[in-house]
Amino acid sequence: MRILVVEDEPDLLASLAQALREEGYAVDTADNGDDGLFNAEGTDYDAIVLDVMLPGLDGWEILKRLRKSKKTPVLMLTARDQTRDRVKGLDTGADDYVVKPFDLEELFARLRAIIRRSANQTTNVLEIGDVKIDTAARHVLFKDKPVELTAREYSLVAFMALHRGEVVTRTQLYEHLFDENESSLSNLLDVHVSNVRKKLGAEFIATRRGHGYCIE
C-alpha cells in the first residue's frame, strides 16, 4: 500500500510518515501544495493524506485539480472543525476528513476504511480459500492458524487480496509496495512472492505469465 502525505509542518510530516511506514505502508511526502499535486497526479497512490492549509496550492485546490484525472481516495487533515469546512471538503471530493489534533489510531482506521471502500470491500476481514486476512489487526490466518509475515509480505498479500480476481502487474506491485526513495531490485518482488507462497500455499498467488500475478 502506498500513501502520499502532504503537510507543511515538518515535525508533523516526519512523524506521520514514520508512523505510517511502521504500519507497513510505503509513504511519499510533500511539504507544499505544488509538489503534492505533482506527486498525486503522477503516481497511483492507494490513499492521500492532505492538509488543507499549505503554502502554494492549498488542499482544496489540489483536491479539485486531482479529481479531474484521478479517483485516489483522499483523507483531508483540517484544523477547522466547522461544519461548512467539512461539507466543503466532502463536496469537493474528499473521501473523509480528520480534524487536528487527531489520534494516530483514528487516522489509521479512517485511512484503512477509505482504502477498503475504494476497492469496494465492506469488511476488514477477507477470506480467500483457507486464508483469512484481518486488515484492521494486520493478522493473517492460514487454516485457522496465525501466520508470521514480514511487513512487506503482509502489504503484498493485503494489496493482492484487495484487488482479488484482477491481474496485478509487477509495475503496479512496485508502485504500491515501495516508496519513491526505495531503490528496489527487480527480483526483490519475486522473493516476497515466493515467501508468501511458502507460508500460505503455492496456489494462493497464481502467476499469469507476461501479465503479472493474481489471487482468484
Binding site: D8, E9, D11, L12, A14, S15, L16, Q18, A19, E22, M53, L54, P55, G56, D58, A79, R80, V99, K100, P101, F102, D103, L104, E105
Partner: protein, 519 residues
C-alpha cells in the same frame, strides 16, 4: 401590585385622576351656575311680589285712613302721627285688596306658583293667597332657617329704624317700589319652599314664597345629565388615554422585547424603528447602533477565540503524533531525542502564540503599561537592523538605512519589538537578493519611520486586513515564529504610544510600512 408599577398604569391613573378632577370642577361649576340662576330669578320674583303686596297693603290702608295732606307746611314731613303706633288698630283683611292685574302674580293654579301670607301683630292672618301652604303659619318664625324671627329681626335694622321706638321711623323711607334699603330679610329655603318674610315696623309680616319642587326636579335632572355626560366623557377619555399611552409606549415595548432577546444571546436582534422622528425612535436608533457594535465586537471575539484555538491545533497535532509514534514501539535513544526536540519546538511555538495572545489581550483591555523614557530612536532601529542582519544575509537581502539621531519618548523595548517585527517581515516576504530601505525622519512634528521592501507585495483586497489577527499573506504557516499576530501587536504598541501605522503596497513591486510616533 406589579400592574400598578407599570408606566402605562401609572400614566393612566394620573391621567384618570386629572380628568376626574377637571370634570368634577366643571360639573360642579355648571350646576352651581344653573342653581344660582334659578334661585336668583326666583328671589327677584319674590322681591317683586313683596313690593306688590306692600304697596297693595299700603294702598288699602290709605284708602281707609287717608294720610294727612302732604302740602301742610305747618307739619314737619314724616309719617302721619300714630301710623306706626303700636296702639293703632290692627289692620285687617279689609285693608288688603289685590288688584286684578296683580292677581296673575299669585297664580293659585300653578303647582309652582307664588303665594303670600300677611300676618298681623297678634299672629292673626290678615290675608293669604289660596295656594299658600298652611304650614307657613309661623308665630315662632320660619322653621327651616330659625335665624329669622320677626321679633328678633328688628335690632338688625339700620339705626334709623331701630329708633322706631322713639317714633322717628319714617314710612317714606320705604321706597315706593321696594323693601327697606339694606333690607335685612334675605330669602331662605324651607323644604322645597323658597320664601322671604318682611317684618314691618308695625310687627306685621309679609311672607311671599314659592314652591320650587319643579325647579328642584329640573336642577336634579341637570345634575344627573351633567354627571352622565361627565361619565361618558371620562369613559371616552380613559379609553382614548389608554389607546394613546399604549401607542406611545409601543416603541418602548419593542425596545424591551429586542433587549430581552439580545440579553438571551441573540445579538442579531434589532429594534423595529417605525417612528424615527420621535424621541423614542431616536433612542431606538442609538440602541440599534449600540447593538450592532456589540454584535461586531462579539463576532470579533468569537473569531479571535476560534482562530486562537485553530492556531493551537497544529502544534498539539505535532506533539500527539510525535509521542504516539514514539511510544508505538521500543526505540533507540536518538529517536526519542528527535521526538522530544520536535515536541519542544511545538511547545515553543505554543508559548510564542500564547504570549502574543496575552499581550494583545492586555493591549485590548488597556492594561499594558508602557515604560516611557526619553531615548534615541535611531539607536534602537540600528540595533534591530543588526539583530536581523543574519536573517537578511540568509536570503541575500540588503538593508539600506538612513538613521539621523532623533530623540523620542516611549517604551524603547516595545518599540524595538515593533521595528524588529517589521524588519523580519520585510526580509521574509522579500525576493531573494532584494532590498529593504529603512528611513527615519521628522515630519510635521512626528517621528516617521518607513520600512520599504522589494518583495511580492500584498494584494489590494488583503491590505485592509493586514493588521487583523491571524492574517497571513499566503494562508499557511511558514516557520514556527510566524503566529500571524505580529502586525496586530505592532499596531497595538504603536497606538498605545499615540502613533499610527500604515501599509502601502503594490503587488510584485514591494510593501512600505510607515510608523508615525509623537516625539
Amino acid at each position: 401590585m406589579k400592574m400598578f408599577k407599570s408606566i402605562k398604569w401609572r400614566l393612566q391613573i394620573w391621567y384618570g385622576l386629572i380628568l376626574v378632577g377637571v370634570l368634577l370642577g366643571l360639573g360642579i361649576t355648571a350646576y352651581k351656575l344653573e342653581h344660582d340662576k334659578v334661585f336668583r330669578h326666583t328671589d327677584n320674583e319674590l322681591q317683586r311680589r313683596v313690593n306688590v303686596v306692600l304697596q297693595t297693603l299700603h294702598r288699602g290702608e290709605q284708602q281707609r285712613r287717608p294720610p294727612p295732606r302732604p302740602n301742610d307746611f305747618d307739619q314737619p314731613p314724616g309719617p302721619p302721627a300714630g301710623e306706626f303706633d303700636r296702639d293703632r288698630p290692627p289692620r285687617g283683611p279689609e285693608d288688603f285688596h289685590l288688584q286684578p292685574r296683580d292677581e296673575v302674580l299669585f297664580d293659585a293654579a300653578a303647582a309652582n306658583g307664588y303665594y303670600f301670607v300677611i300676618t298681623g301683630r297678634d299672629a292673626r292672618v290678615i290675608a293669604r293667597s289660596t295656594n299658600a301652604p298652611t304650614a307657613v303659619m309661623y308665630v315662632e318664625g320660619p322653621p327651616a332657617t330659625g335665624k329669622l324671627n320677626r321679633f328678633t329681626a328688628f335690632p338688625q335694622l339700620p339705626d334709623d329704624r331701630v329708633k322706631y321706638g322713639g317714633g322717628q321711623f319714617k314710612y317714606d323711607q320705604f321706597p315706593s317700589n321696594g323693601v327697606p334699603a339694606g333690607q335685612p330679610f334675605p330669602p331662605y329655603s324651607r323644604g322645597t319652599f323658597r320664601e322671604v318674610e318682611i317684618v314691618l315696623p308695625t310687627q306685621e309680616s309679609i311672607l311671599v314664597g314659592r314652591n320650587m319642587v319643579t325647579d328642584l326636579a329640573e336642577l336634579r335632572l341637570i345634575a344627573l345629565q351633567l354627571a352622565g355626560a361627565s361619565l361618558v366623557i371620562l369613559g371616552f377619555g380613559l379609553a382614548g388615554g389608554w389607546w394613546l399611552v399604549g401607542r406611545l409606549l409601543r416603541p418602548i415595548q419593542s425596545i424591551g422585547a429586542a433587549a430581552v432577546k439580545i440579553s438571551a444571546g441573540d445579538l442579531s436582534q434589532r429594534i423595529n424603528v417605525a417612528e424615527a422622528e420621535s424621541e423614542l425612535g431616536q433612542l431606538a436608533a442609538v440602541l440599534n447602533s449600540t447593538f450592532a457594535r456589540l454584535e461586531t465586537a462579539f463576532a470579533q471575539q468569537k473569531q479571535f477565540a476560534a482562530d486562537a484555538a485553530h492556531e493551537l491545533r497544529t502544534p498539539v497535532s505535532v506533539i500527539l503524533t510525535q509521542t504516539q509514534t514514539a511510544l508505538n514501539r521500543e526505540r533507540e535513544a536518538a529517536s526519542y531525542k528527535q521526538t522530544v526536540e520536535a515536541c519542544q519546538r511545538a511547545a515553543q511555538r505554543m508559548r510564542t502564540l500564547i504570549e502574543s495572545l496575552l499581550a494583545l489581550a492586555r493591549f485590548d483591555a488597556g492594561q499594558e503599561i508602557l515604560r516611557r523614557t526619553r531615548f534615541d530612536f535611531s539607536k534602537i532601529i540600528g540595533e534591530a537592523v543588526d539583530l536581523v542582519q543574519s536573517l537578511a544575509e540568509e536570503r541575500a537581502v540588503k538593508i539600506i538605512s538612513g538613521l539621523p539621531p532623533l530623540e523620542i519618548t516611549g517604551d524603547s523595548e516595545r518599540l524595538a519589538q515593533v521595528v524588529t517585527n517589521l524588519l523580519t517581515n520585510a526580509i521574509q516576504y522579500n525576493e531573494l537578493a532584494g532590498e529593504v530601505r529603512v528611513k527615519l525622519e521628522t515630519r510635521s512634528g512626528l517621528a516617521v519611520l518607513t520600512i520599504a521592501d522589494t518583495g511580492q507585495g500584498i494584494a489590494a483586497e488583503d491590505l485592509p486586513r493586514v493588521f487583523g489577527r491571524f492574517f497571513r499573506a499566503d494562508s499557511s504557516r511558514t516557520g514556527a515564529g510566524n503566529t500571524g499576530l505580529g502586525l496586530s501587536i505592532c499596531k497595538a504598541i504603536v497606538e498605545a504610544h499615540g502613533g499610527t501605522i500604515e501599509v502601502a503596497s503594490e503587488v510584485k513591486v514591494g510593501t512600505t510600512v510607515s510608523v508615525r510616533l509623537p516625539i
